[in-house]
């Protein structure tokens, strides 16, 4: 991929970006090389290829309509049917001896592994969440460490999301300002990116249950500080009332779905849409069950699949009766992966 195309794809990551599908040899794979499955989102493929540089593996790219693994799986696009299509259309069974593919665990909310097995004879195994961990995972004999199972909501993720997630919002306002009142553009630019940076850096310490609430609180603090300053120096707290309003509006906009993008919490945007009566909004949002995971104990056979694929580590091994234990049930944000994958239908989302 050319650098310019890659920068555009990165900045436009709100939008789907399709890559060719099919089976691609990386390095010089043979009939015994592992097969790694991924989505046909350009950025995803670029990262997977980079992580696997110097390795000989097969890369099986499914048709997820140009959407990344997690969004496509949770949005009902990356389903077992896509994996079945990719395996059969690429005639994978003629290329490899071992009938096994390694799925990204973030595809777990969408892919029924039993159906893949039934239709293709291929067994599905879940690899590490991040492509960068694949080499270590393969070297360890397809064994994962706990860290490889988790989605990392830390600084690396925030840095990755900072520009692409906020640029469209910034541009939408900036273009209008540029046409209507260009003199306000520098001020808006400074305010917008300061607000976003503040929220991205201090999110873990700002009080509030929802991301939107945290953003509004921050906006209020900034606005009050400005008013206090104006009161002290100009004798009138509302001397810059336009600025106060701008601060509140910018934080209001920048905080929208802060929780959904940056943290393992239910998305504010999804909740709002759901309350507004939307059943579905493109692939951005699909109405799904919310709440927390719950276990129907008698049904559990202790296979530990749930614990293998939970991206936030809700589960914690087995009790003396070989039933799953919860480590932190409250950490569940209803991604639906374990519910979909439990072979005994012992898990559900409630309340």
């Amino acid at each position: 991929m050319k650098p310019v195309a890659w920068i555009i794809a990165y900045l436009a990551r709100w939008f789907p970006h399709r890559a060719p599908t099919g089976l691609f040899p990386l390095g010089r794979p043979d009939a015994d090389s592992p097969v790694l499955v991924t989505a046909n989102f350009t950025l995803t493929i670029k990262r997977v290829r980079k992580a696997l540089a110097g390795r000989s593996v097969w890369l099986l790219v499914t048709n997820s309509e140009g959407i990344n693994v997690w969004c496509a799986a949770a949005g009902g696009i990356l389903t077992e049917n896509r994996v079945i299509d990719a395996i059969k259309v690429s005639r994978l069974s003629e290329k490899v001896r071992r009938h096994e593919v390694i799925l990204p665990p973030l595809s777990a909310p969408g892919v029924d592994r039993k159906a893949v097995r039934r239709e293709t004879g291929f067994r599905c195994r879940f690899g590490p969440v991040y492509a960068r961990d694949i080499p270590a995972y393969l070297d360890a004999g397809k064994k994962k460490t706990e860290a490889m199972r988790r989605f990392d909501f830390g600084w690396r993720h925030r840095l990755d999301m900072f520009v692409p997630m906020n640029l469209p919002i910034y541009l939408a306002v900036a273009v209008v300002l540029y046409l209507a009142e260009p003199a306000l553009l520098p001020g808006f630019t400074a305010l917008f990116w300061t607000a976003v940076a503040f929220l991205y850096v201090f999110m873990d310490w700002i009080p509030g249950r929802t991301g939107w609430g945290q953003a509004m609180l921050s906006g209020l603090v900034f606005a009050i500080a400005q008013a206090a300053l104006d009161w002290y120096s100009l004798g009138n707290p509302l001397a810059h009332w336009g600025r106060l309003l701008a601060v509140l509006i910018v934080f209001f906009a920048a905080g929208f779905d802060l929780a959904g993008i940056l943290s393992p919490r239910t998305s504010d945007a999804e909740r709002l849409m759901s309350n507004l009566g939307f059943r579905r909004f493109g692939s951005l949002f699909v109405e799904k069950e919310t709440g927390r995971v719950a276990l129907d104990r008698p049904k559990c056979h202790g296979c530990m699949t749930c614990s293998d694929i939970c991206p936030v580590g809700v589960f914690n091994g087995l009790d003396e009766e070989k039933k799953m234990l919860f480590k932190d049930q409250g950490a569940c944000f209803a991604c639906g992966a374990c519910v979909k994958q439990c072979p005994e239908d012992a898990l559900s989302l409630i309340g």
Partner: protein, 222 residues
């Protein structure tokens, strides 16, 4: 002017898909399906609908007296298709299967009189299109037809530009609403010929952006 872009918006709302797509395409979606069915479906024939979606064309074909099999990769769309077939009392004439194109290998060779597809090929990637055409050829009887109506890529740069200008606002809206990209089929007639078919009809709309294609399987491949 028909645009497939509308469809992507509506696809995200399966329940409103049909009324919405017809309203926005000014009835063109329904018209092209009607035309495809009336010109190609023969009473008593066996028809396969690739990517049947909400089943509009499949139900039309069943009403025209064909025995129809429709498949689609999307379970929510098929649920509507089944309701529609039941409402049209053609349910016993139609079988719906949830699967992707790779499932076409389950159909016996020389078993269909018509393989049809409306607005589904543009959803497939190139390798999937080739697989689909290869199996369409295999499962058709000799003399059987392949009929496709889909959005196409205009053949000249000028038309592409004009079409692009019309399409940009719609595409932007679709992106904003559905986060789904749309793609037109490029060079489909060439792929159809390469799969062994003889192309009988190849019609393009005013701006060259819509393709109506009918091809025949004249003989089994040597």
């Amino acid at each position: 002017m028909f645009s497939y872009v509308y469809m992507k918006i509506l696809e995200s709302q399966p329940r409103r898909y049909d009324s919405g797509i017809n309203l926005l395409s000014l009835g063109q979606s329904e018209r092209v399906k009607k035309r495809l069915v009336s010109e190609n479906v023969v009473r008593g024939s066996r028809v396969l609908d690739i990517g049947c979606g909400t089943g509009t064309a499949a139900v039309m074909a069943a009403r025209a007296g064909a025995k129809v099999t429709g498949f689609d990769i999307s379970a929510p769309m098929l649920a509507i298709a089944r309701d529609k077939a039941a409402a049209a009392t053609t349910a016993d004439q139609i079988e719906f299967i949830e699967m992707g194109v790779s499932g076409m290998d389950r159909f016996a060779a020389d078993s269909f009189d018509l393989v049809m597809s409306t607005l589904a090929f543009s959803e497939l990637s190139l390798d999937e299109q080739n697989w689909t055409l290869e199996h369409a050829f295999r499962i058709l009887k000799t003399g059987g037809r392949l009929a496709i109506a889909d959005e196409a890529r205009p053949s000249t740069a000028g038309k592409r530009l004009l079409h692009g200008l019309v399409r940009i606002p719609l595409a932007a809206l679709t992106f904003a609403l559905t986060q789904t990209s749309t793609r037109a089929v490029a060079g489909l007639p060439r792929l159809v010929r390469r799969a062994g078919f003889t192309v009988d009809t190849e019609e393009r709309s005013l701006l060259d952006s819509f393709l109506y294609l009918v091809a025949k399987k004249e003989a089994t491949r040597p």
